[in-house]
């Protein structure tokens, strides 16, 4: 057997209650490695075109990779791959914690869920013993309560649980899948797909080991990486402040979403920046196999919810449930974060729909009775708390907002689409594209799942390029995007890799040491091109085209304040960057992969 892989795929058909295993196809594994690549290949091959994402025909693929669970720093992530109910396109959503290694200890590289159970169920996996169990008593429970109860039900506190909350059960497009309480596949409504299958959770415990091909190399790489983190300032900062470190930079650069992306700097930043966040930390904790420990447990210090704790908030939450909705208090953000996580909602999506709803009220697009009489104003966290519950349970105005900002704005109309901040239906994360960051404009436009900051992250490197210009963006974004593909296939955390060198030769070295394959940086580049083009093909099969590679209208408006006051990012600038990017990928001007490219990548079969 090739190192790293367990070699097995678990397939569960909930309609027929049929459980089977099949071998991992090693030829495909060599071409797609695992995770995002191999998972996308499965979805492309198995899912009929134009499948309704919330129908039993949709599939959920839990994917790990050969590196997952090995002694490579941060090798603890899985990706859920499915067709998104929010975008109707390809969705890959990742999560850390300890679920992915446990899945491999149980003997599975992939779990494919098909069909729909008649009644609520959960999956209980102990090595080769796989059971579909009744989850009637768990339906309606919060994700946190359900995880705790499942551990009690199977009588083992060390099991790993991947679970949905009420938002997923109620098929919200903002619903996430959560594991180990504080780790989430947050985006794109993966939780709703699970809910549509009546699947509350997957519980896993494994007893098999994961072997690597070249153990001495893998161990010495681990040694090197850990040692290097001590001497690298960004690594030490990450260890202390976690992702909230980023907010200081985004505010400084003028790209922190503020009051529904109207502005790029927030006056309350000092109350929600990295230092303010650190003051709330009560525990530094870690994902499996990572010494960075960037998961932080924080505690509310004041108010009605004093003493309540959460693993978080992350940078995106501080941006979206903070600056974007006018909240300048860590305690209030933590409170809203607790509601979202326990109810199973994506904080990014929620911060967007709240911002949009507040603006609709300001402009009189929604009436007082439309919003159930709630006093919707920026900064009003108590009301936002009530709104979050309504979203999860789809009550009143919550039913509309649960659909996500694209659908909500389309239903309401009256010009509200102008400030519905999404790409392809997926809400913007905590970086505001505009003259200060044409790079993020391109990043959002090209990412298959919609507006996303996790595929290519130009925040720092873009600072070296002239602002309000398209110069160098396409080349930069392709490089950054490609840098992460091998790690998303491998599958490891894409933060931990930064501390040892994230470039393609390093990816090749790591995957080679684990699998035993001889791999070159050139092959890694081919992997990147193959995966990016495959995802493009999937989306175009589902009806997406170059016109979907765009931004919310607000992102093309003139800046009202800040360093770029009076200037605007134009649609022509975006088009220019896109055409350059398409060309670098070997796609035509419409973003369609050329026959030559398809042939070269073996995708023309």
């Amino acid at each position: 057997m090739v190192g790293g892989y367990t070699g097995q795929i678990l397939r569960v058909n909930l309609t027929r209650r049929q459980i089977s295993t099949e071998p991992v196809n090693l030829d495909l594994a060599r071409q797609y490695i695992g995770g995002r690549g191999y998972g996308a290949k499965i979805l492309m091959d198995e899912l009929p075109p134009h499948t309704d994402p919330l129908s039993p025909a949709n599939k959920i693929i839990y994917a790990t990779g050969p590196v997952t669970g090995t002694p490579v720093l941060g090798a603890n992530r899985y990706v859920v791959i499915t067709k998104s109910p929010e975008t109707g396109l390809f969705l890959d959503s990742y999560s850390g914690g300890g679920f992915a290694p446990e899945m491999k200890f149980a003997g599975y590289d992939f779990i494919i869920i098909e069909g729909k159970a008649v009644k609520p169920v959960y999956l209980w996996i102990q090595d080769e013993q796989v059971e579909v169990r009744d989850a009637g008593h768990l339906w309606g429970k919060t994700a946190w309560d359900a995880e705790t109860e499942l551990k009690q039900a199977v009588g083992d506190a060390a099991v790993r649980v991947s679970v949905i909350g009420p938002a997923g059960e109620n098929l919200s497009n903002l619903a996430l899948i959560q594991n180990d309480y504080y780790h989430q596949c947050g985006r794109g409504g993966a939780g709703a797909v699970m809910g549509s299958k009546n699947l509350k959770a997957i519980v896993v415990r494994g007893s098999r080991g994961i072997r690597v091909a070249d153990q001495p190399s893998v161990m010495s790489m681990l040694r090197e990486t850990i040692d290097r983190t001590d001497t690298m300032k960004p690594a030490v900062a990450r260890m202390l402040y976690g992702s909230p470190l980023t907010l200081d930079s985004t505010n400084l650069f003028g790209i922190l979403p503020t009051l529904n992306y109207k502005y790029g700097q927030f006056e309350g930043t000092a109350q929600i920046d990295a230092a303010a966040f650190r003051k709330k930390v009560v525990q530094d904790t870690s994902c499996f196999g990572c010494t960075i420990g960037c998961t932080k447990v924080t505690r509310i210090a004041t108010g009605d919810h004093r003493g309540e704790e959460i693993g978080g908030p992350e940078n995106e939450t501080n941006g979206l449930l903070g600056a974007n909705i006018g909240i300048a208090s860590m305690d209030e953000i933590i409170y809203l974060n607790i509601l979202c996580d326990s109810l199973g909602l994506d904080t990014i999506g929620v911060g967007n729909v709240i911002g949009w709803a507040v603006e609709c009220r300001e402009r009189g697009i929604l009436s007082n009775s439309d919003v159930d009489g709630l006093d919707l104003q920026f900064g009003n966290y108590r009301v936002f708390g009530e709104l979050i519950k309504k979203i999860a349970y789809r009550q009143g105005i919550g039913d509309l907002l649960a659909k996500g900002v694209r659908q909500a704005s389309q239903e309401v109309g009256k010009g509200s689409e102008e400030f519905a901040m999404h790409v392809k239906g997926l809400e913007y994360p905590a970086y505001r594209p505009g003259p200060a960051s044409p790079g993020f404009a391109l990043a959002y436009a090209i990412t298959e799942r919609g507006a996303c900051h996790r595929r290519a992250w130009p925040t720092l490197e873009e600072q070296m390029l002239p602002p309000n210009s398209t110069q160098g963006r396409a080349v930069l974004l392709k490089r950054l995007y490609d840098q992460r593909i091998p790690w998303h296939c491998a599958l490891t955390c894409d933060f931990a890799i930064l501390y040892r060198g994230a470039q393609l030769p390093e990816a090749a070295r790591t995957i080679a040491a684990v699998t035993g394959w001889e791999l070159t940086a050139g092959e890694m580049q081919e992997l990147c091109d193959r995966v990016a083009t495959l995802l493009r093909l999937f989306n175009s099969r589902e009806g997406a085209n170059m016109n979907d590679d765009t931004l919310a209208p607000r992102s093309f408006q003139k800046e009202a304040q800040g360093a770029h006051k009076g200037k605007a990012l134009t649609p022509e600038m975006l088009r220019e960057m896109l055409e350059e990017y398409y060309a670098l990928r070997g796609w035509d001007k419409q973003g369609i992969p050329t026959p030559t490219t398809l042939h070269k990548l073996g995708l023309d079969g």
């Binding site: 090995t70 002694p71 300890g98 080991g209 072997r211 681990l222 850990i226 260890m239 904790t285 870690s286």
Partner: protein, 163 residues
């Protein structure tokens, strides 16, 4: 006799453990060639809800209860290092040692169902080598040290503050 240096022991401070499980990872792979926390000779009992962890490990007892509990002579104490070693040729898998250890630090190998005892990797424990001090704390969670040395290490912690 009086000049004999104090023996080193494996010490753990769960209060500064971030729950990364590196100790289990390196322990299991070095002995069995596979990452498998359920075959490790040290275990991290993680409370993921609170973000806390407890480390369960062999303490190299002066008078090991496990050795006393073993009726087949499979367990013995190594006088040089003070560690407990196991002779699997004599082990019957009765698991009396597991029950005998007051620290629950003898584990059952999930594959073979035989006991696992920490042997200090022959004197330079790998778990200690890979236990990384998190910058939020003054020291790492695992130490191979004398009792005096460990007391000093723990004393520093009270003055460590993250800025």
């Amino acid at each position: 006799m009086d000049n004999k240096p104090e023996k080193k022991h494996l010490f753990a401070d769960g209060a500064v453990c971030i729950g990364c499980h590196e100790c289990e990872i390196v322990c299991s792979i070095s002995y069995f060639g596979e990452v498998n926390p359920r075959r490790a000779r040290i275990r991290v009992d993680e409370n993921t809800r609170q973000g806390t962890a407890e480390i369960i490990h062999c303490r190299q007892c002066v008078k090991p209860a496990c050795v006393k509990a073993c009726s087949t002579g499979a367990l013995s104490q190594d006088t040089a290092m003070g560690r407990v070693v196991i002779d699997y040729d004599k082990c019957t898998g009765c698991l009396d040692c597991v029950k005998g250890c007051p620290f629950h630090a003898i584990f059952i190998d999930v594959r073979t169902k035989l006991p696992l005892v920490c042997d200090l990797c022959g004197g330079d424990p790998l778990c200690v080598q890979f236990c990384h001090r998190h910058p939020a704390h003054s020291h790492a969670a695992l130490h191979f040290a004398t009792g005096e040395e460990f007391k000093t290490i723990k004393r520093i912690t009270q003055n460590h503050e993250v800025k």
